[in-house]
Symmetry: C3
Subunit: 389 residues, 3 copies
């Protein structure tokens, strides 16, 4: 069938499992690096909702970004009363409490104006952790932040984080589909700086998707992969491998290679986890490092990806080394180049009918799991919270 604007339906692959175009509500999402929010209010869009962020006197607030009086964006306003935790609209001085969205004053009406008691706008639960601002967008009371954050992020005593933020012109679902061990890595990333000298990643595996014990996500274990093959009529692929002289580092190995220390001391069980609402944890075999990638839906065609690099704390010297290593190598090799390879693909994806095959088993299981288990106001959220990460 010819590809025209009329023949593609972006909802086709997701409608059956109920994955919403604007993302799962009722979760915490990272939205901005903390250092990007200064003295001026900052407008963001998350899950299609327009929100203003502001700081005042050490506290952080998020409100709907529209003054209900005459409709001006609150992000055009300022914090006029230091330490009061309020933001004041730029048009007539309506001043809202960040904590609950109530109207503290309508300046141009004078003190104690009758309107004060009648107006309230939506306030969003918002907080900071790991150098990022997190917001809860939903239709229920916010769950505790640690319900939604892996220990690698919320446990600041044991871990520290370095983040890289990028914007994708694609729907968030396509980005999360990419995190279901569908063997694209061998193909897309085989020549990335991290992998170019290692043996080619195995493919044509038997894939075992499993729901993790904590109930908030899945892992996808591949077995029995091959690293190259002769394809009838085409020839051998991959064609050239002479430069792949290094030993594999675990990524893409045919089973989860965890060191004894990682397994026994650190209690790492599943280094690769794809979680609700759209998060992937990619841990290294030694258990000292995990990359958390968080897909944040902006609108139906835009996603912001937070690459949160999480390091186990081992004193200041090791911390210094980890930072330098990230700055000089991994930040470039992975967050820029490796992720950039995915981005190039995902931004050239025309969503619509799919022709899935056995390597999509993980993705199919993920979509079904996510659609069935995403938190709703009816969910007792603690049910989903188990022992550890």
């Amino acid at each position: 069938m010819a590809v025209t604007e009329a023949t593609v339906d972006p909802e086709a692959p997701y409608a059956r499992d109920g994955l919403p175009a604007l993302g799962f509500r009722n979760y915490w999402y990272p939205i901005l690096a903390s250092r990007k929010l200064g003295k001026r209010p900052h407008a963001v869009t998350v899950l299609g909702e327009q929100i203003v962020l502001f700081r005042d006197g050490g506290s952080l607030h998020a409100l709907e970004d529209r003054c209900p009086h005459r409709g001006v964006r609150l992000s055009a306003g300022t914090c006029r009363f230091p330490s009061s935790g309020t933001i004041t609209c730029a048009y007539h001085g309506w001043t809202f409490r960040g904590a609950d969205g109530t109207l503290a004053a309508a300046l141009m009406e004078g003190p104690n104006a009758p309107v004060e008691r009648k107006v309230r706008i939506q306030a969003y639960p918002v907080t900071e952790r790991a150098g990022l601002i997190w917001i809860f967008v939903g239709d229920m009371n916010a769950v505790p932040l640690e319900d939604d954050l892996p220990d690698w992020i919320h446990d600041q005593g044991r871990f520290f984080q370095l983040s890289y933020v990028d914007r994708y012109r694609c729907n968030w679902r396509a980005l999360v589909d990419n995190w279901t061990n569908d063997h694209h890595a061998a193909f897309v990333h085989g020549h990335s700086p991290e992998l170019v000298f290692q043996p080619h990643l195995p493919f044509a595996q038997t894939l075992e998707p499993k729901v993790l014990s904590h109930g908030r996500g899945m892992s996808f274990l591949g077995r029995d992969g091959i690293r190259s093959a002769e394809f009838p009529g085409l020839g051998k692929w991959p064609r050239r491998t002479w430069h792949r002289f290094m030993k594999p580092t675990g990524r893409g190995a045919s089973r989860n290679l965890l060191t004894d220390k990682a397994r026994d001391v650190y209690q790492v069980k599943d280094p690769y986890q794809t979680r609700l609402p759209g998060v992937v944890l990619i841990g290294r075999a030694h258990g000292e490092y995990t990359l958390v990638q968080w897909a944040v839906p902006i609108d139906a065609e835009t996603t912001v990806l937070f690459n949160i690099n999480c390091f186990r704390r081992h004193g200041w010297l090791r911390g210094l080394y980890d930072r330098a290593h990230y700055l000089l190598w991994r930040g470039w090799a992975h967050d820029v180049i490796f992720s950039g390879q995915d981005r190039r693909i995902l931004e050239r994806l025309v969503p619509g009918e799919e022709r899935l095959s056995r390597t999509d088993a993980g993705m199919i299981a993920w979509r079904k799991f996510a659609g069935a288990n995403a938190r709703t106001p009816d969910t007792k959220s603690s049910r989903l919270r188990a022992a550890g990460d």
Copy 2:
């Protein structure tokens, strides 16, 4: 309620009173500075209608900007027959009379082609005054220009004008709402060059909207304002006033300060008037100067604002001074900075449901008045014309 693209309705505040998104028809509007129309035809859009302006042999014409033959814009054509008052389409030479839109010739058909007598396009009444081109867009015969122009503009013997034109990315109605003495001035303009050294403008006034005797607009008289207050839980506002050492010049005073001369000699009664179709007159207390601001709807999301600065004529030396003063001070301080403060607000306005309060009394009255009294083809326009301005 969360702010999303789906939750805002730009017609919500205006539907009840019948204020049309594309502006009130059947009025004269300024559309272009005279000096911007040279030898080439010029395309403009006003009230959503596409119009071509052209001059020929001293006369000025406005026609619909599409040749009915094959659809090419007449603004791509030229005036091929000097002093004939015609414009010729660039495609096949169909030549239209600017005066009435009839077809003077279809060049490629040869002289006296049968089609000539059968074709007529819409001609718009158009004229020049005060260095501006004015057009009447409507569904009736044009009223006399002076019916729609304040004396400050149409009486060239007593007044002269200097204009500044700016483009706003907002609907015209939001701009006119801004001219109803809703006390935004204290808030938005308090630090503009004109006001920063004057006492803070009073707010929390009792506002008295009144329909003017000439029936074409309203004035909004504020009484009993306060200049600062202590707001419970927030503190004093405005916070710093040490730099406001000048005397007030009238703008924003608690009543209309008119000098004896302005009142008795010049017969100025209401220096602040908001008029149909979307015009504001802001006069100074001394009666020597009035700013006329004219909101011209282009399309539903665009408005052009004409700042027409009107000066009373007092001989060439005073005229020279007024021009220099405008050039060096007021053009910058008001038309660029002061108006720019409004523009920043209005372009950040998300139209939709409003939560109006007592300071919006003028705006509410204006919308009701405008919707009920705007000229229609059924209106006997002279009824609306009274003694003076």
Copy 3:
């Protein structure tokens, strides 16, 4: 009637005769200069369809530009298996045969994956001729290329070609309307470099549209034109002719001026032909040269125009001269300037209701002919193929 966005209907002039907005299907169209397609796959849009072009081992292929697996554009992929005539998707290595769109391998599934036999995407007939890539977009088996190409292009033994490609922001139908001898030339091109020193083109002719004997197009013979006239109330037009001292070269003469040699030796009968699907042949009187202009619909608002300059072969020295002449004179004078005059008009055309007159007789006949005679899967295409060109 005022011209607004709501009052124009781009289908109005074409609906009655059934001329489709996206072009006539089931024809060969040029889509790209051959030299523009290198080693990397190239994405094009034709008749609203998204297509990837690629070369591999000397063969040229065109497939629908979307991998059915997960939806990524194949134009983001590469040809991984030289000389196999395949393209491989960048995401998971699905590898398609260009010849028929079947799946040669799904690399990440390993060799002989079950999915291979079940997947097939649309392959488009595609070939090269005259330095251009040609594609057949339709709902039937492709007709032979020479059915759709004039001898001037497909007969490489007798002719050679030099092409110039330009993009128009207008629908393809407006461009073809322009090729029906509607006398716009006198008006639009009268001051082009080619015509400025020649007598003014005659207009107000009797126009005789006739269907050509090969059934694939029409010619439009004008008779009895005048070169200037006195228009009542306007004056003489054209006004100045002192600079038109050259003899006419045939273009726009009142009858088809063909030299004896052209007529008797070269068998040229109708040097001006407008053909399906949207092509014009403009031959010179001497029969040594014809310009073929091909309108290629991209989408409803975009057309690509191929100016294919065709020269009769007369040995290398004459060929050298023809190339130099094109490079130094005609490429600029016609393909850039002359065609650019049309483009300026056509891009300022607001499609909608028309008021046609006697000079549109050719266009009216063309639309009727094209709507009635365009090839469909039911047409026996050979019926339309007659002796020569």
